[in-house]
Amino acid sequence: GAGVSQSPRYKVAKRGQDVALRCDPISGHVSLFWYQQALGQGPEFLTYFQNEAQLDKSGLPSDRFFAERPEGSVSTLKIQRTQQEDSAVYLCASSQPWAQDLGYTFGSGTRLTVV
């Protein structure tokens, strides 16, 4: 597609519920990133994929967080047994690693509220 698409745009989850957030990157973009942004803060790195390979998951805050990109395009970030501290905006970005310009294109994000 022309841009990075994320869904849903908003998600309200009850504490303890599992959620799945979807990211559809720019067509052909090999690199895909997930970031978490708390209110008033800068985005914080969660995980990075190159094609279907998850090359870095050092930012995932706990084993309740899981990300996948099985066919090297669409990615899903899953959060199990959501907690209130998981409330944040989850941002997805894609880029082309072998281009001269490695700049990210971000999606609009998913705002998760855990109640």
């Binding site: 800068g42 941002l91 310009d101 490695l102 990210y104 971000f106 609009s108």
Partner: protein
Amino acid sequence: GIQVEQSPPDLILQEGANSTLRCNFSDSVNNLQWFHQNPWGQLINLFYIPSGTKQNGRLSATTVATERYSLLYISSSQTTDSGVYFCAVGGGYQKVTFGIGTKLQVIP
């Protein structure tokens, strides 16, 4: 990991004024990007600039990698420039670390 410091944290400008935002980083970088986050939360990539100078309309950026800083210049500011400006840096070519941002408000 790399530390990123941005200044000033907050900035209020009269429409038409110029400004300079600064980003200091703690280690050598291969990836440096400037972003604008508008009031609706959308992050827009302004520049990919690990070194050198680039210009795009009223915006320009300079990175002096040897001295570990980057500057973003905004000239003839407009109300639509309001939002938060982030610097993001990475030692490798992929993952970047964001600063806390500079919150800019342009008043008419």
